[in-house]
Symmetry: C2
Subunit: 428 residues, 2 copies
């Protein structure tokens, strides 16, 4: 392809993305005025359209799978890409679940009368236009569209190129459902080009897009964050810790430390490093080592941990910095809570960290002082999840500091404006 | 200055800013663990130090004023720059006021038990390190430092070069006060170079700075927003509207429309465009025109407004887009609330917009549908202010959508993390 052709293509992608942006901005204006009943009707209509389009969706998915196989995608990637009837059922159920959730938009809290006589409150309103960039799982198309729609936001969805036909088929269901319910069909748009320039444009048009939510691998998210000219709500690492304090109930500590590591390995809220107070290392580490060995978890310990349990590999500096997402665990013996919190301060990705303790003051200190999006006492890090937190649904887990930290549900997709009710008050 | 010397200087500024950043990051870690009593003691100590250093501060300010006069600063700028005893008293009073405000850090809300047995709540915590970039008023140094300190944030303050000696003198008071109270002296640092490269570095070190708050003219803020690699909480225009509906009480409408325009001209929450429903234009516009004429306000009207009040200048497209900050008012006659909201949607800077009405349904629609940081019924736009809203203090007014909209007080300088209290729960 010569330079001139490339330039023409990029120009077209820019124009195309600008059109999507303009349409999304217009849709956002009507969507924030759309009542709950209409939004729910649209979600249910999309569910019906998806049910009616099963064969169409599965055929499109077959094409993606065939192309993926031809392109050498591995089994795990092909599995994430596949849309079976079970997964279509789950998407339909998900749409109905989102329809059943309370609508956060319009909620007013803190309404109070002020000395001037005005009454002031805080009203929850949509963010506006949300751009979502994700990778191979086409189910994300439905999840993201439904959460944005329910929270009154227009969205522009950019899925992975390997799922392009599946996403286009799902986009048709969304469009038909929106149309059936009388909602602007540009309320949820799927980017119909696999050209990478589309992402570059999507993240640099603040006039049309209010926030970007990238979902996927760390390199994708880092690249988007550094290039975006729009606020980004992102999730980077999940290097989660459990600290077992000297006062911990050892049965409880074992149950939590085993669950946090072995319940699922490839998830961001799995424990990656276990910290054990020196005074109980000899009592708890052998029990834990036996339990981990039973689960096939490879242990990598500091020198003091290895002095207690001989069959551990040595942990290096790199281990403290690694999100394994695998049956591997780093173990360090520490001297009390200050030492534990210093380790967490230095190495935690500020996602989720837990203490197991029966000491009231240490529990309070850990909760107050550990600076992570979820801080837990006597519970498994695996609870850091939108469903477990009762959000009803989750668009991701934010490891950012501003706007929203931790699991992001409908509320995280909204913002608040001030509302003032007066009776003719003026400033004196 | 040759190129080599410049390069050396810039290198030094980068190193210097990096050192400030590292020190601020370390201070933020201790500051978020500092209790309310200590933070208040530090605020009071800074107030005492400032009181004791009056002559030192005024001498430094004299040097700034002399340099400013020599550099041709106009009277308004020199006035903003001046630190009189009255202004020093106001800064001291401000420090005591911030000390008296409730500490938002550590507040837990929404604590509830979930089906798994865990108890989940949302705890308010500091943002971390805040970079504040401002222009000529040296009082901002104290205001910003006190609000950041009370909310548990470390801050790096970069004031205008014209106020450099004043800011350095105030910085000494801050340092002495922090030290006296046993708080890390790098909790609040004033950038001690006027080199512009310092700003460039400050806004591009996300490893040390969590958020940037620029205060000043629109061009400064736009430049910082477009170049920052850190989230920015910003205030751009204040193009505020008042819409007088057909059902409005005319006395109330007149009082609000006059107050919103004439109470102060150079402020962001002043009305810049008045919208009047066509059905009452003939009754309200002549009264308003007489009142505005009495205040010396220049009126620029649409054709329909000028058909009612002859002595208006014609308004152009540009008038609807202008934040006058002056005794000038654009006036447009509209056909009902939809027409008014369409105008607001198109031209409002989404700062503050108000309706004057006695119609229940229209009041509800306006509040729900107008997308501005403050939306008012029957009150002057001039109420959009941190003090009037009971925040106790204000670091600015955000016209952004994420994190915080409208007046930003202590709460806007914090974020929330999840806290989980368990009794040994694990994921099943």
């Amino acid at each position: 392809m010569n330079a001139e052709t490339t330039a023409t293509l990029i120009d077209n992608v820019d124009t195309y993305m600008t059109q999507l942006g303009q349409a999304a901005r217009a849709a956002a204006t009507t969507l924030r005025r759309t009542d709950t009943r209409t939004k729910n009707a649209a979600l249910q209509a999309i569910a019906r359209q998806l049910d009616a389009a099963r064969s169409e969706v599965k055929l499109a998915n077959q094409h993606d799978l065939e192309r993926g196989r031809a392109n050498g995608l591995d089994d795990a990637m092909l599995d994430r890409l596949a849309l079976t009837d079970v997964r279509i059922d789950a998407m339909i159920a998900g749409l109905h679940q989102v329809a059943a959730l309370p609508d956060p938009v319009g909620e007013i809290d803190g309404l109070k009368s002020l000395p001037s006589g005005i009454q002031l409150g805080h009203m929850r309103v949509p963010l506006g236009v949300i751009g979502i960039i994700y990778e191979s799982r086409p189910n994300v198309t439905m999840e993201a569209a439904s959460l944005c729609l329910k929270s009154g936001n227009a969205c522009i969805l950019r899925g992975g190129s390997e799922a392009s036909e599946s996403n286009a088929a799902l986009a048709s269901c969304i469009t038909r459902g929106l149309s059936e319910a009388g909602v602007d069909v540009t309320a949820a748009q799927v980017v119909a080009t696999t050209d990478r320039a589309a992402v570059g444009r999507l993240i640099t048009m603040p006039e049309y897009v209010d926030v970007i939510i990238p979902r996927g691998g760390k390199s994708l998210i880092e690249r988007i964050s550094s290039e975006a000219r729009v606020p980004v709500i992102k999730h980077l690492d999940g290097i989660c810790h459990v600290y077992i304090d000297a006062s911990a109930d050892l049965d409880m500590a074992e149950a939590i430390a085993v669950n946090a590591k072995t319940h699922r390995y490839g998830v961001c809220n799995a424990m990656e490093t276990l910290l054990v107070d020196a005074s109980i290392a000899e009592r708890i580490l052998p029990r834990l080592a036996a339990a981990y060995a039973g689960h096939g978890v490879e242990m990598r310990g500091c020198e003091r941990a290895r002095a207690v349990v001989a069959n551990m590999l040595p942990a290096s500096e790199e281990d403290w910095q690694t999100e394994y997402l695998a049956p591997i665990l780093a173990i360090r013996v520490v001297d009390g809570i200050d030492d534990a919190m210093a380790h967490i301060d230095r190495y935690s990705s500020r996602h989720t960290d837990a203490i197991v303790t029966n000491d009231y003051r240490l529990a309070r200190r850990f909760v107050a002082e550990v600076d992570s999006s979820s801080v837990m006492v006597n519970a498994s890090t695996r609870f850091a999840d939108g469903f477990e937190y009762g959000l009803g649904a989750e668009i991701g887990i934010s490891t950012d500091r501003l706007h929203v930290r931790g699991p992001v549900g409908l509320e995280g997709l909204t913002t608040r404006k001030y509302v003032v009710f007066g009776e003719g008050q003026i400033r004196q």
